[in-house]
Assembly symmetry: D2
Homo-oligomer: 388 residues x 4
């Protein structure tokens, strides 16, 4: 097919040419006396992305979800008890990972399309008078359903319960796209990957640790090797990594940090809000519903759209892909076949999203879901023009 | 600005990543025993793009318009007389170039927005009973106004006049995009550059010569050096070039030929027709007129749109560029301020053009030209969906 | 500094431009119907690199050494007993990893500069009449000292002891450079990374599993998540990965496989032997000793050179780096300060190595280790010319 | 073949990765309001490379040698008389170009391997009492024979003759490598291309014009079009170009200027001198002669080496290319078969040149020219170590 593919899944996101160029580099000696400059450039700037002033960030050659494991095995002893909220596929997998590692997880179920309910978390923690629960697992932005939890409210709930549990937050599809206040929200572990807001290929996992979380690392008895932060910290302190770093991705991450911080994280979040408003206006104009059950929890990094009953969202996605050269995200697990997802995070803009919405419109019509061609795009443009 | 710029001028066109990669190559020795393989790969396949089976193609480090000079100085003796049709800025510049080189040019003026009139050419040649006129200069696709002349009809007119003049055709914005039948249309010199249908950066001029045109090269008395085909032919015959070739562009051209010929030139032309139909539907839906005075001469590689009286197209273009990160082509010379041009040639597709049309819609509104947002895009999608 | 840096460490190795280009690609939807073609292209060809016809290969976003953990946690139950040989820093770290994961490791110590002794392995296994030992950990090519163990002989020793232990082989600096006969040598788990013989940046770990090793995966009781092969196998079977794959590195790996298999693994191994002979001739000409205690165990992928007593190899390395723009490998642990290492694996050739040897010669002289300038290079050229 | 090709011809030179990346860019609208920033960045900094403070530089999509034509047709009227010195293939071709354009050229012949003799130039000009001679054509660095003329001495000769002729200097293989004092040497036209000291692919011609030369442009009666500086100047003044610029090369040129000026032109020249000294030491150690007849005229950008009588340099070059993957320059015209040329200009360093010399040594031996392997490299290293 001629022209550029429209990659509109909620990650990996389009890699800007500038970052592709930054990664197109000859390798270097990762043990040379010149190498620490790169390590420090990255590690000193990563915290600014999430407004972290205390604690430390870590970078692993791994996926973002591997950081679930890295966060847990460095802070929670074998068999430890955890509290989690499940309201989508990624909160589900976070729980599954914890259980696979041998932890006990108390699960608060919420309908998919809803978010974490701070009052239920407070109640569960208050009931744990023995303070057995060592951590609360929370997905900030549930990529499967397009909703954003209120992390600050969850922290407030923990505090109201006067519970010492750590707050472990999955920020895979929020960090570097949406506002993320690591310090102010009292987050202890925050995890993400490079393929979303950082606009890079997947391949690096990023883990932010608070001082409180770091204090547990040395005494944590969980057997661990690759994800052991002790070796990582010791090496990082000298500007190195314990094993051969994924250098091309580090070059890219260093440049991505420059792009993000030059724009400013508040501007980045505002840009995502602005673009999301247009996409939501299009969905409304089509007369379709979002998976998000309430407007105030709809995510600014992706929009999950429900197809009408009697239709299969997978057909829309396959038509979009094969006829119009656009990738949309599929519904997962409970919402499989019911939703398709439009990613609008990372390096994109209004005209690209207008093209994407155009592809969705044609695919919907082809799939027998009648909408007026141009109606969604027009509504989005109205939103974006107002914002111009 | 975040996201990808929309480059919607009628050339340079977006360079596909595949071609950027092909050009990202270490240099080679252009005199080595291995080098002729590249030269031959290019020169043997260039003719297929224009359905040329006789004569020869040439490649110069230069712009496409430099080939006007290359075609003339190798075939027309000093002070020679030429016949040309002027109906836009590029036909105007072709004439200016010929005059700058000392040739006498008889000009047939046509309104801008019209094309060459074969009957007038026939008449002019018939009147030249002494056969003084040595060449007819014709722009196939006038990039300034978005119209396409009928080259075959011009050839028929020359033949009806039984005139020996060469037919020199500017195919800058047609070759490798629109159908171009070098042999069947009896073209003698056809010229183009790399930055349009070949989807590359500018930097190479391409000149196709018929056997009849080549027969004039050795005896042509025009003083010339850089554009002298004698040195070029002698070197090309051995697989080399007379001076250091622009190697990265040659690497790109070789790969572009593979892309074009794998798709097939008929499919390339059909793809341009298909996409152009959608853009024209959008213009109609906006209630605006094209610069092309008749639908049957509207170009498939670009659309020149007239703004209503009292508006300045330059304002639309500047708003589009600064607010919506899209480049549109400006009106030139006689139509300056009256038209903006949307390029839809080269490596593009329907969703990209839907994004581009969205940008035009917002810019038109911002410039005070009232159109219903989404109306043009919707009309284009209707066209493209039908074609899917 | 002008010109190209000489990256002569034993990995990461220089990335050929062809592979950098292959990685310079837009991202794709890793869940699309088109994606499995890439997965299959890689997984179907990886086995050919090690002459594996049974079992399966796996690819993780991780370092090569992470595959130590992946191999162990999928095949050895918690607290299981292992036998290992330590003769350099990487065999040491393999042991440390196993212990960090809670395994008991019986260690056979060999002098650094020596290799595994099959007869001692045989004796240790024969003494384990209860067959408690579940696996034998062996480093094929010890990157720290520049020696290559005889894997086939170790397998023969295990067989003579009629012991059921798995044979787990670290092939980080051998696979895709030196001969590696997975089936014929009876290897059960072989691990490597992308940054050595595969000529790519680090970032992917590769794990080859025999049928015998795979049979243990489903019943292995070790808690594990990221490195759990069950999810990986289930996804791979459909052409997918359980989490977002490191796509740019996969693009590179796919192309690296084409390069390696087009050349042929026997030719690749022969090329490494040929180049290594020249480097060893240079070391001899300088009158210096290798860390390898016997010529027949000297590695073809790197050469570890001893500096004379009273000198510090780190000074040679730092001079080489800062004055002559060449990276050499450092001595590690027991041999720190005593050796510097010259990598000659991956994408290199005789002239590049001649340049590298030239840099070593100048650095040696500057460090006060008197050698005749040109003597080592001349000896290497003599070797390489003979081989031409 | 594995590893990196050694491109040791005197241009094109190796393109640094940084410049390849700079050229790997999406196209832009060359008529946009943002474009003039690029034009000005280039045109404002080009003069610093040659220490030009008056006059103007120009950039054409063309080869460097096309600038011979550009310089002449803008300053010398049809049939004008010129004085030139011929001492190698490029001074020969400069003359041929002038004659092809219809100029009369008085030629001072010098032996190949010698340079221009200022006293003969002075005499020739003094004899032209009518001041018919309009320009003196001089090649600064004769790429065919590896010698460097003394431009300042030629200017002094012209001044002593009190002759108004322009001084037109070919600086193709000197500008951006060797010292070039445009103002101080009283140069009127200086020409070069991008593929030598600018470290880029060929494809752009660069022409520097003095105020005196510029004063002739408007009144010069030579018919011309593509190379007409009037259109170029008018467009450049607004930050644009008269036809579509070769954008990827301009991106590269902009970055090359940053590299060169950051290093400093004096440092660039010194680096070339330093590296050339090593290469010349190698030639001496081999017992071979240079084409340059005197040491003080030997070029710092390349070394032309004579093979002993009875040998054919082309055989050395072909062996080097096919067996050792290194490109050497061939002898041209009068010195064909007698010399091979080693380029040492642009982005290179001592270790790369040591590798190149190693390739030459093996090729010489293979061709039956007995030299001691390592002897030349050792001599070069001795030179370079001293300089470290």
């Amino acid at each position: 097919m001629a022209g550029r593919h429209f990659l509109q899944i909620p990650g990996p996101t389009p890699v800007p040419d500038r970052l592709l160029r930054a990664m197109h580099r000859a390798m270097e000696d990762h043990r040379s006396s010149a190498f620490p400059a790169l390590t420090r450039s990255i590690l000193s700037r990563l915290p600014q992305v999430v407004h972290q002033t205390k604690g430390e960030p870590f970078v692993f050659p791994a996926t973002g979800t591997a950081m679930w494991e890295a966060a847990l095995v460095n802070t929670v002893n074998p068999g430890g008890r955890l509290l989690a909220v499940r309201f989508g596929q990624f909160s589900h997998l976070f729980i599954q990972t914890a259980r696979a590692l041998g932890y006990q997880v108390d699960v608060l179920e919420e309908p998919w399309g809803e978010v974490a309910d701070p009052s239920r978390i407070e109640a569960a923690l208050a009931a744990d008078t023995a303070h057995e629960i060592q951590g609360v697992l929370l997905v900030h932005n549930e990529t499967a359903t397009g909703v954003t939890s209120d992390v600050a409210a969850v922290r407030a709930a923990i505090d109201r319960a006067k519970h010492p549990a750590l707050l472990l937050v999955d920020g895979v599809s929020s960090i570097a796209s949406l506002e993320f206040q690591f310090d102010a929200w009292g987050v202890d572990c925050a995890i993400t990957g490079t393929q979303k807001g950082f606009m890079l290929p997947a391949g690096l996992g990023i883990l932010y640790m608070s001082e409180k979380a770091l204090a547990r690392v040395d005494t944590c008895t969980m057997p661990r090797a690759y994800f052991d932060l002790r070796a990582m910290r010791a090496n990082n302190a000298q500007g190195f990594f314990p094993s051969t770093p994924a250098l091309s991705l580090l070059f890219g991450l260093d440049e991505a940090l420059t792009m993000l911080l030059d724009e400013g994280m508040a501007a980045v979040a505002e840009r995502h809000r602005f673009l999301a408003n247009g996409v939501r206006a299009a969905v409304n104009a089509w007369g379709l519903r979002q998976c998000a059950k309430r407007p105030e929890i709809a995510s600014n990094s992706l929009t999950a759209v429900m197809v009408p009953d009697g239709h299969d969202a997978r057909q829309v996605i396959e038509i979009a892909f094969t006829r119009y050269d656009i990738s949309l995200g599929s519904g997962l697990n409970e919402v499989a076949g019911k939703v398709f997802r439009i990613g609008h995070l990372g390096d994109t803009n209004s005209l690209t999203l207008a093209g994407a919405l155009s592809g969705v419109e044609m695919a919907l019509c082809d799939a027998g879901i009648p909408i007026m061609l141009g109606s969604g795009v027009g509504a989005a443009l109205q939103q974006w023009r107002v914002g111009a």
